[in-house]
């Protein structure tokens, strides 16, 4: 069944987009991530312009993280204090991100920046996660204990605050900075940023695993809602029809993914996720290096009359 996407301005097969939403939803449910870093590239791959893909995926991630956040809220696995401090940074970062997005688009360098950010971020995070997963797997083979967690320099920063539910005593400075960072890259790349945020919160901020995913989902939810709104107001690029199909596919797929994820061990899961992220990054890198089929592109700046 063909459907015309009003903003992306091209006809797509509804079932193809629905299946893509479900597949990404499955993966995101399995690993407990938003899945934006898979969804945006897939949309670009089927011919939707990177700008529309990034803007529309934001609302799709908002939907999936809202259903996730609701589940974690019921289990009291969200730290409201930590979430609000993160959000102070997140909202600022998102606004900065959308502004940068608009500037880059006017310069004609948006597609390049999206591709470059994907290469840098995904290959770095992917290889870190992959090697960490490998090391963890070897440790459990040898039966060795994981290295003891020690306090790092971050815990020496001023403006400390007590986060009751997470049972940590932490400076607000690194928390706000992390929020800004995630908001910024999320708005430019069309990702929720969960796959970067969760490791940062665990390894750098020492947030306990009981509250880390739920709290990161709140940040994702609010930054992505805000990004949707800003992209709609400034760039008019959010395709609501596309977003709705993705959401329906995504939230359904996520439920089955979550069940599948419970059957796989943590280390293996991290190894798989690392590999997946790495391969998306490499794909973008290859695309940048090989000669494009057509060196010319046209952009319409609006029809008069």
């Amino acid at each position: 069944m063909q459907l015309y996407l009003p903003i992306a301005d091209l006809p797509v097969n509804v079932f193809l987009v629905l299946a893509m939403g479900a597949a990404v939803g499955f993966v995101s449910g399995m690993f407990g991530i938003g899945g934006g870093f898979l969804m945006t590239p897939l949309l670009i791959f089927i011919g939707i312009t990177p700008a529309v893909a990034v803007a529309s995926v934001a609302s799709h991630i908002a939907a999936s993280s809202f259903s996730g956040a609701l589940a974690y809220w019921r289990r009291r696995a969200i730290d409201p204090a930590l979430a609000s401090v993160l959000l102070c940074g997140g909202v600022t970062g998102t606004a900065l991100g959308v502004w940068t997005f608009t500037q880059l688009r006017a310069l004609g360098q948006l597609d390049l920046m999206i591709a470059l950010s994907y290469v840098v971020l995904l290959t770095t995070v992917g290889s870190l996660m992959f090697s960490e997963g490998l090391r963890a797997l070897m440790r459990t083979r040898r039966g060795a204990l994981p290295p003891r967690r020690t306090h790092n320099w971050i815990h020496g920063l001023p403006l400390k605050m007590r986060f009751k539910r997470s049972k940590i005593y932490l400076s607000v400075i690194p928390v706000v900075i992390v929020g800004i960072l995630i908001g910024f890259i999320g708005a430019i790349m069309g990702i929720g940023g969960g796959f970067i945020l969760v490791p940062i919160m665990i390894y750098l901020l020492r947030v306990p695993t009981s509250t880390v995913i739920g709290t990161s989902m709140v940040l994702t939810l609010v930054t992505m809602l805000f990004a949707t709104l800003l992209h709609a107001v400034t760039n008019h690029l959010v395709d609501a029809v596309l977003a709705l199909i993705l959401m329906v596919g995504g939230v359904t797929g996520a439920q089955f993914g979550a069940r599948a994820g419970q059957k796989i061990r943590g280390e293996q899961l991290r190894l798989l996720l690392g590999l997946l992220i790495l391969s998306v990054g490499v794909r973008f890198a290859v695309e940048l290096v090989i000669r494009p089929e057509d060196l010319f592109t046209i952009r319409e700046l609006g029809v008069n009359g």
Binding site: P6, P11, V238, F296, V303
Partner: protein, 256 residues
């Protein structure tokens, strides 16, 4: 005085003699509505060449060139170049007020119908249509083999938005003709001007104009218009939709 009046009359008569033929045309549909499941269609333009008393008796055959121009828009063509090992948009040209849809149809190849000089003056053929570029503060069209100009035409042609077909016009009788105007699925909305130019023995002898309109209807068009005109409301509704979907999912799949 009398002589001057006669001269004026003569000029007028000669003038109308030069335009002896009248063109009468019509399109099959003056208002095309594009619905969500629209996948392109073809309009038909038909018409006839009306001779009158002043038409030279030996003039038997005519040639026709039909130009269809969609709403005008500003476009930018960019070129990628290899920089530091990766392909980056470096150079660009701005095309001003160029037709978003452009089709040229004729009954014979353009170079057989008329001389290159008249073809250029009458903008016959994609190479001769005026496509104004902004060239460092100046406005001008460039030579037809300019890389940006030819890339622009090539890309538009690939999308089915620019086309030329020198065999699309068929004469049913020596004076009665028809041609199809293909409109692809992603046709821009707006007013389309149709110009029909008549040639005989290589000379341009007259033209007429008509127009049709393409409007999009349905939910998709409503969404597109709202997104452009009421960005804030559109964004809020999309955000609310995301929340609703997420909430519904958490109810439907709740594990109790």
């Amino acid at each position: 005085m009398m002589r001057a009046a006669l001269a004026v009359l003569l000029v007028l008569l000669l003038g109308s003699a030069a335009r002896a033929e009248r063109l009468i045309v019509s399109v099959s549909n003056h208002r095309v509505t594009v619905t969500p499941n629209y996948s392109g269609e073809e309009l038909v333009l038909f018409g006839s060449v009306e001779k009158d008393a002043s038409t030279p008796a030996d003039r038997k055959t005519y040639d026709l060139v039909v130009t269809v121009m969609g709403p005008r828009a500003e476009m930018v063509t960019r070129r990628k170049e290899r920089t530091f090992g990766i392909w980056i948009n470096t150079d660009y040209r701005q095309f001003l007020e160029v037709p978003s849809y452009l089709a040229l149809f004729a009954n014979r190849p353009f170079d057989v119908i008329t001389s290159p000089e008249i073809a250029r003056r009458q903008q016959i053929g994609l190479n001769n249509v005026l496509l104004t570029q902004r060239v460092s503060g100046d406005y001008a069209d460039v030579v037809p083999n300019d890389v940006f100009r030819s890339a622009f035409i090539r890309l538009r042609t690939q999308r089915g938005l620019y086309r030329e077909d020198p065999s699309a016009v068929t004469f049913l009788t020596p004076t009665l003709f028809r041609t199809g105007i293909p409109l692809p699925a992603e046709v821009p909305i707006g007013t389309y001007e149709v110009e029909i130019k008549l040639f005989a023995d290589g000379a341009f002898i007259g033209k007429t104009e008509t127009a049709f309109e393409i409007v999009k209807v349905g939910f998709e068009q409503f969404v597109a218009t709202t997104a452009r005109q009421n960005g804030l409301i559109y964004g809020l509704v999309t955000a609310a939709m995301a929340l609703m979907t997420g909430w519904m999912a958490s109810i439907v799949f709740r594990k109790d």
